[in-house]
Structure formats: structure tokens, C-alpha cells
Amino acid sequence: MLEILLDATVRAGTPILFATLGAIINERAGIINLGIEGLMLIGALSGFAATFVSGNLLFGVIAAFIAAFLAGSIHALICVQLRGNQIVSGLALTMFGVGSTALFGRGMVGQTIDGFERHAVPLLSQLPVVGKAFFHQDWLIYFSFLLVVKIWFFFYHTRWGLALRTVGENPAAADACGIPVNLYRFLAIACGSGFVGIGGAYLSLASTPMWIENMSAGRGWIAVALVIFAGWSSVRALFGAYLFGGITAMQLRFQAMGTTISAHILQMLPYFFTIVVLVISTLRLQKGASQQPGNLGLPYDREDRK
């Protein structure tokens, strides 16, 4: 029972994990991205379509990354080069993603592919309780573990990571050090968006190997809230995403057990808990040392330097 629940937790949490990691990269560079929901859909559709045409899952994942990378570049262009309003631009990206995937996804509705299969990691998958849930999974889940570590390493143990954090914290100082602020910001948004796209592709290639219009169903927004919960740290994002995977898994379990509680009420739980978690983490943020990038949400203009 616990094993099944843990397994469902990891599988439900993974798309949110990718999306949260992508959003963290965006916000570390100082740019809010409210287009996560739209990017997930773009990733889900392009990943599915590429796999459907080529029959190759890896192509699907790459296509999802590239499509979301390109869509994220629109947001980057507007926020960085054109110094537009980041909130409006992000909402526009979500709207664009919802609308364009509905339009282009018409031909993919009802098609099926062979999704990702599970591969057991030797030894580790034999661990009691957690073994099956974490180490008898598909390649994308193993990739998400790797990405968590990679991003942590990138931010805290590489020069580029330090430069990127400086750009988000204090772009004027970064500029004075000779760091190309706009280039860093642009690439951070585009690459972060690409990872969000892989999160979308997890939905259409692994969770349910098919394309359903609007299949992200608010997970992108949950990811935006989880960034704050995670305190902009990739490792804590892992816990946040699995927390929500767990709530989703339990809700599905309740439904499967044939509870008398309405399915509609149960489906509210992840959204409700996201709000609760957001409140708690906002409170914590104000008490302790804030991890929030200092210049989050502000455009950088060399002429405005103080």
C-alpha cells in the first residue's frame, strides 16, 4: 500500500518538479515567468507529436525542450530586451500556449504512442519501501534526479552559476563586473522554459501517453507557487514537488477506493494545499533570511543604475 502510494507520488510529482526547476532558473536570473502553464502544454504537445511522428521517445523529449525554449524566448525578448511587464508577458505566454496547443493538437487527439517504460536500477530498486518508488521508474524520472543535482551544482559550484545568481540579485553589480546581464537573463529564461517543456512532455509521454487538450490542468501554476516554497533551491523543489505528487496520489487513491466524497471536492485538494503552502512559505520568508533574488521582477536598464 505504502509502496504503491509512494510510486504514484513520484510519478505525479515529476512533471511539477521539472516545471519548478525551470521556474527556479528563470527567477534566479531575476525574471518572473507566469507562462509556466502554457510552456508545459507546448512541451506536452510537441513532445507527443514528435514521438508520434518519429516513434522515438528521445526525439519527443528533445522536441519538447526546443519548442518550450523557443516559446520562452518570446518571454525573454519582451522582458529582457524590450523591458516589458513580466507579469503581463507571462500571462500572455500562458494564453498563447493554451490556445495554440488546442489549435495544433486537434490532429493528435485520440492518437496513442508507446510511452516511457520502467527500468529497474540494480541493487537500489531492491531497497525496502522506497526502492521501487524511486529506482524502478522511467528514464525521465532518473533524469529529473540528475537535473536537481546538476542545477544545485551549477548555482553553487560554477562561475556561470555565481554570475547568474548575481544577475538576479544585483544586475548593476553584475554589469560592473563585466557580466553580460541581458545575455545571461535571456539564456536563463529560454533554458528554464525548455526544462518546463520537458515537464509537460512527462505528462504526454509517461503519465498518460496521449495528448489531451489542456492536460497540464493547473500544474504550471502550482509550480510557480512551489518556487517560493522551495526558497529558489533545486533540492527543496524536489520535496515540494513530491509533496504535491503525494496529495494528488492520495486523492486518486481515495477515488479508486470508492469514497463517498465527491471527486470534484477531492480534485480541489492540490490547489487548496498549494495556497496553504504558499502562505506558510511566505511567512517563513519574511522571518528568516530571504532567499528571494533581490531584483526579481524588475527590468534592468543600464541608464537607471543607482
Partner: protein, 357 residues
Amino acid sequence: MNLSFRIEKREQGSALFRTLATTGSIFIALFVAGFLLLSAGVDPAAAYLEILRESLGSSYGLSETLVKATPLIITGLAVSLAFRMQIWNIGAEGQIYMGACGATWVALFSGLDSPLMLPAMFAAAFIAGGLWASVAGLLRARWQVNEVIVTLLMNYIAILLTDYLVYGPWKNPDGFNFPLTAQFADAARFSEYFNTRLHSGFFLALFCALALYLLMERTIWGYQIKAIGSNPGAARYAGMRTGLAIFLVLTLSGAIAGIAGFSEVAGLQHRLQHGISPGYGYTAIIIAWLARRSALGVVIVSLLMGILLVGGDSLQLSWQLPVAFAYAFQGLILFFLLASDFFINFRLRRVKEVTDA
């Protein structure tokens, strides 16, 4: 010697230039959206002609445009009220649903009769929408919790709550198991005009625009909202209670969006059902952004969006396009508007750089 461009700040261009830039960016957005249509196998020229013909080409089409504009005006006003204070109410969609639930509750279960029924429904919708938004208002005012995320997540909860009601306790027992409530009695319906679906809700929307204009431009409270919006620090220093104002503005914004839900069930649907708003609350964000602080602007932009939605509905039928494709249009329009802002606020100047040998 090589040529390059330098970005310079400028005073905002003239009103004429700003209007031209805004209109121009909408046309460019429609042009780009044409390629989107083209790649989906739809002839854009024919599609745009059809949009115009369906929405403006007949008196019925015109009335439908006004019908679509009605909830857009009301929610657009709601969102723009919060915008004035730099508060983002992304939750108008959910507030419409809650307003509709409140109004439906009164219509089906209060047992009131003619003169009292509609005012009671109005009040219930106003309160339901306001209470729903007040949660985000309280969290934002008290603990600085990000209102964008809270209002947005509450949309999902509101829609699920409505579904719960129409699939469960409020389902019409004689409705063959469809997710609908019973039809409203005549006392709970707006009057309709000219043999079309145009209903009193449109006039209610215009009244809301007037009321909001007076509130913002002719009262101290409106002045305070604007002051807090443009400089919260200075407003606090001047003794204004910014926290309370944030709470009240978000609550009022939600209450106004709730009126849109009332207008939809009393004027158009005459019952509560799944999906009563196809995203009016999201379109309202664009409307508020486009209208730039003006109640009259909200009315005008809502009418334009009404054209797009009526035309979009007809395209869905004739070309089998999904309902959500209108969002792609709206997203593109926003992108190009943001880009046009840049050209309003900055100018590109060619500079000749002399490179030292």
C-alpha cells in the same frame, strides 16, 4: 566605422503616437495570428471576413456582440480597479463562477418573488464574488502573499466547486442527469430586447462603468487608490492605510466580477451549468491592460473583444476550431502590445561609432 543602434529613453510619445502604436500592434498581432490559422488549415482572410460579418454584419450579430461584451465589461472593470493599485486580480474567472453560484442559490432556493428576486440575486452574487476575492485580499494585505498565484489557484477551486454543485446537490432532478440546475423562474430572469438575446445585463454593465468612473475620479477613496498605486511608500507616509485599502480593493474587485456571474445566469443561461464562463476572467486582464486605467476604455475594448469572441464562435462552427484558440489570439495581442510599449517609452537612435585604430 560601423553603424549601430543605441536605445534612448524618451518622454512618452504624443497621445496620437500612443494610439497609433497600440492599434498598429493589434493589427500586427492579427497578421501573425493569420499564419497560425494558415498552418491549422484555415484561410485567414476568409476567417477575418467571417469574424466581421458575423459580429457586425447584421442586427442579430450586433446584438450578440453586445451580449458577449456584457460580462467582459463588468470583469474588465473589476480587474482594472485592482490594476489601479498595482494589484493583480487574475481570479476574475473564479469570481464570475462564485457570483453565478450565489445568484443561482437565491434564484432556486430563496422563494422570493418578483420585485425582490433580482436585487437579492444581485446582492448574493456581489457578496459571493467579494468573499471569494477577500481571501486573496486578506492574505496579501496581512502577510504579503502573492495575490497573482492565490487568485489564480482559486479559479480552479471555484470551477470545481461549481461542478460539484451542478453534478451533485443542485442538479436538476428532471434534467436527465445532465450537469445543469433547474431553469430559473421568470422572476429571476432579466428582460430581453428586440427579439434577440440582448438583456438588461448590458445596461447593468454600463451602469457599473459609470459608477466605477465616479468612484475613481470623484471621491477621496478613488484618489487614495490611485495614490497608493503610484507610490505606496509615499501614500503610507501620508497616513493612508495601504493594507486596508488593498484588502478592500481586491474584495470590491471580486464583488464586481461576481456581478458578471449574476448577469450571465439571469440574462443568458437562466440556470447554472458547467463552464458558464469560457475564460471571460482571463480576457478581462487584457481588456484592463489595454484600457489603461479608463472605465470608458474598458467599455470600448470590451466591445472590440466581443467582436473577436462572436466571430471566434462562428469560426469554431465553420472550421471546427477548438474553443481555446481565441486564447492564442489574445496571447499574441498582448505580446505585441508589450512590444509596442517599448517603442513608446524608448527610441532607437542610430549612432556612428568611430573605432580607434
